[in-house]
């Protein structure tokens, strides 16, 4: 069938693909495979643990210890630490994928390139814009999510129906970033050049007599509209955590202050905020890390068009679509550099807590 036929006939007239004949055979095979994998895994764990227990003498404890921690250390070493180092090394090289002049077979060769990839990333204007956008995400998402989350947590604290009000704002946490991207990109921000506006926000605009606005094409504000999607998801997270912290503030403090004539805003500023400061920091850093890694939103809504690209998405496209792995690796390392301060801060506070124990 040609593409014109598809266009003329519309979506419903052509016979749809449907489930193929052995659909359920394949699916039950997959489900069985998953179930068997889980059972085999659990049996191995139990057998190895009790196997270590059978050993007599002074080695028993040591071997049990190895059994307990070796799987995690092995998986993290081979699957995370070594790959991270390898990616870093790759970022200092150039990978060329060229056909061998004699045999014609494509071969991959790696050449040390020093800082070339980084030099390119930091001089190429579109990549530079990608890095700048990521920086904007990293700043705005945590600030806005925490701000909205804190405000909402305070407003509804001890209100009637607090639980229901909380789950309304918390609900987007259960939705995938792809789902949220569809909700906002395809429905809230939808824009029609002609005819009636089908998008919620543009329909609202025409209701009050404003011209329709192409949210996703308006550089540089479009990055902000994408950021709103992640804020919409992360606010619930911030709200739940901060709300628990607010409830941990001793009621006596607020009562004493209000007897002294402090109004709500003064109590919020001089009692609530200082009491929950450490929680606010945790929420801010957690959301910052999240905001850096997220690529789903940009990939789903704009695919990086109209200067909305961010490092996480660019890295994916370079490495897995365009085959420019070493440049992708350099971007991954740049992403890591953004979080290094947070790693250091977190490790320090962890050690502080351990010392005081």
């Amino acid at each position: 069938m040609t593409s014109t036929e598809v266009l003329l006939s519309g979506p419903r007239i052509l016979p749809a693909a449907g489930l193929d004949g052995d659909f359920w055979a394949t699916q039950s095979e997959n489900l069985l495979f998953g179930a068997v994998a889980i059972v085999v895994f659990l049996i191995i764990v139990v057998l190895v643990m009790y196997g270590a227990d059978l050993i007599k003498g002074r080695f028993r404890e040591k071997i049990t210890l190895v059994v307990l921690i070796a799987p995690v250390l092995f998986l993290l070493g081979v699957g995370l630490i070594w790959p991270a180092l390898d990616t870093t090394w790759l970022s200092f090289n150039t990978v060329t994928d060229a056909p061998d002049p004699d045999t014609g077979i494509y071969t991959t060769s790696m050449q040390f390139a020093g800082l070339d990839n980084y030099r390119f990333a930091l001089s190429d204007s579109s990549t530079l814009r990608t890095i700048l956008n990521t920086f904007v995400w990293m700043i705005l998402v945590p600030l806005l999510s925490t701000g909205f989350g804190l405000a909402y947590a305070v407003f509804i604290d001890k209100a009637k129906g607090e639980k229901v009000l909380k789950s309304l704002v918390f609900m987007p946490m259960a939705i995938s970033l792809v789902g949220a991207s569809v909700i906002w990109g395809n429905i809230m921000y939808d824009y029609q050049q002609v005819g009636e506006q089908t998008g919620m926000l543009n329909a609202l605009r025409s209701l009050v007599g404003l011209d329709p606005y192409n949210f996703l094409a308006d550089d540089p504000l479009n990055t902000f509209w994408l950021i709103i999607i992640l804020v919409w998801i992360q606010t619930g997270f911030a709200m739940v955590i901060l709300s628990a912290a607010i409830k941990g503030v001793p009621a006596e403090l607020n009562e004493a202050a209000s007897l002294d004539g402090a109004n709500a805003w003064q109590r919020f500023r001089s009692i609530t905020i200082p009491s929950i400061r450490s929680t606010i920091v945790v929420v801010l850093t957690t959301i910052t890390i999240m905001a850096l890694k997220v690529y789903d939103i940009v990939r789903t809504v704009t695919q990086g068009r109209n200067s909305t690209d961010i490092v996480a998405n660019r890295m994916y496209v370079l490495s897995f679509v365009e085959g420019r792995e070493s440049l992708g690796a350099a971007l991954a390392v740049i992403l890591f550099v953004f979080v290094v301060p947070i790693v250091i801060y977190n490790v320090r506070s962890l050690n502080k807590v351990k010392e005081t124990r």
Binding site: A16, A17, G18, Q27, N30, I38, F41, L42, V45, D53, L68, I69, L75, L76, V78, G79, L80, P83, A84, T87, T88, F155, A159, L165, L168, M171, A174, I175, V178, G179, I183, G185, N186, I187, E196, Q197, M200, V240, A245, K247, G248, A251, N254, N263, A264, V282, V283, T286, Y295, D296, T300, A312, S319, F320, A332, V333, V339, V343, N346, V353
Partner: protein, 315 residues
């Protein structure tokens, strides 16, 4: 991510009870002062902005294909033409940029097959390590734990290319298979799972474990008879957290999966940016992808919140 050393599960519960007990007349007065009409209005606006988009998605899912690009859902509803047919079509007939695209039911099944083992594997392995780090003193324990803690923050992007090579055809041959996706998800989940479970396991009262050890119980016996039963609430919280994370994931599935393993997020993400004649299939598909997480979320919200709090509140 966090520095909490508090028993994660008891904490929120206890606070809730304390609060309820303290609702004296004096604190009621303080409460009245806190809730100004402006704050209430702002709360209502926030609650609406956070709810209406999801409702709008559902309404859009009901618009028939021939009216999707031209009419908003309220016009279609006024004409009485909203239909559930789209859900049927997307699940059993076709989802994609042509009528010959396969339907979404296969991806629903893939999501299940990808998710369940990707929850069991990391939680079990992490609980084992958490017990060792919390209760078995050994040289380097502290260093290794801090290292795992720090790994929580490392962006997955840093590991993708080499890990794909390890799982790829030249080595393990698991890339594009469910096995490869499970392994990748397990690895990426371990740092947070170890950390959260360690928080919990390390707060099991010392006397309980020592009594068992004095009676001659080995580490294996302590693990199966004491640690697992006592940690069940924490395991539940972390399992729910991991379930939602894996079910909603796109990156790991896109990199380590293939057409035979892609979960719901993958085809939806692909079609969402395509504003052609098949755009009307995106809202029903997105809504389908949300049903299971929303059920899990609303029925087990309490555990989910506990899991989050365990990872984020400071003691």
């Amino acid at each position: 991510m966090s520095t909490s050393m508090q028993p994660p599960v008891q904490q929120p519960l206890k606070e809730g009870k304390d609060r309820a007990g303290k609702a004296t007349s004096r604190s009621k007065k303080a409460k009245e002062n806190l809730t100004s009409p402006w704050a209430t209005a702002a709360a209502i606006v926030i609650a609406m902005v956070w709810t209406i988009p999801t409702i709008a998605l559902f309404m859009n899912a009901l618009i028939p294909g021939d009216r999707y690009r031209t009419d908003p859902w309220w016009s279609v509803m006024a004409d009485g033409e909203l239909t559930f047919e789209n859900f049927n079509y997307v699940l059993f007939d076709s989802f994609g940029d042509s009528a010959s695209s396969p339907p979404l039911l296969a991806n629903v099944m893939n999501s299940i097959v990808v998710t369940v083992p990707s929850v069991v594997f990391p939680v079990v392995l992490a609980l084992m390590a958490a017990y060792a780090f919390a209760w078995i003193p050994f040289r380097g324990s502290n260093f290794l734990f801090v290292l795992i803690f720090a790994l929580q923050v490392v962006p997955l992007q840093l590991a993708l290319i080499p890990l794909l090579r390890i799982l790829g055809p030249e080595n393990l041959g698991l890339a594009g298979e469910f096995g490869g996706v499970w392994i990748a998800h397990t690895i990426f989940a371990l740092p947070l799972c170890v950390f959260l479970l360690h928080n919990f396991v390390s707060h099991i009262p010392r006397e309980v474990l020592e009594a068992a050890r004095v009676d001659g119980a080995s580490h294996t016996q302590v693990f199966f008879r004491i640690i697992i039963p006592l940690s069940l609430p924490a395991i539940a919280s972390i399992a729910i957290f991991q379930f939602l994370w894996v079910w909603n994931d796109l990156l790991v599935s896109a990199v380590f999966g293939s057409n035979s393993t892609y979960p719901l997020t993958y085809p939806i993400s692909n079609l969402a940016g395509d504003y052609g004649q098949y755009a009307y299939l995106v809202p029903p598909a997105a809504f389908i992808s949300m049903i299971i997480p929303l059920i899990v979320f609303f029925s087990l919200q309490r555990y989910f919140v506990r899991g989050l709090l365990a990872g984020s509140t400071k003691g």
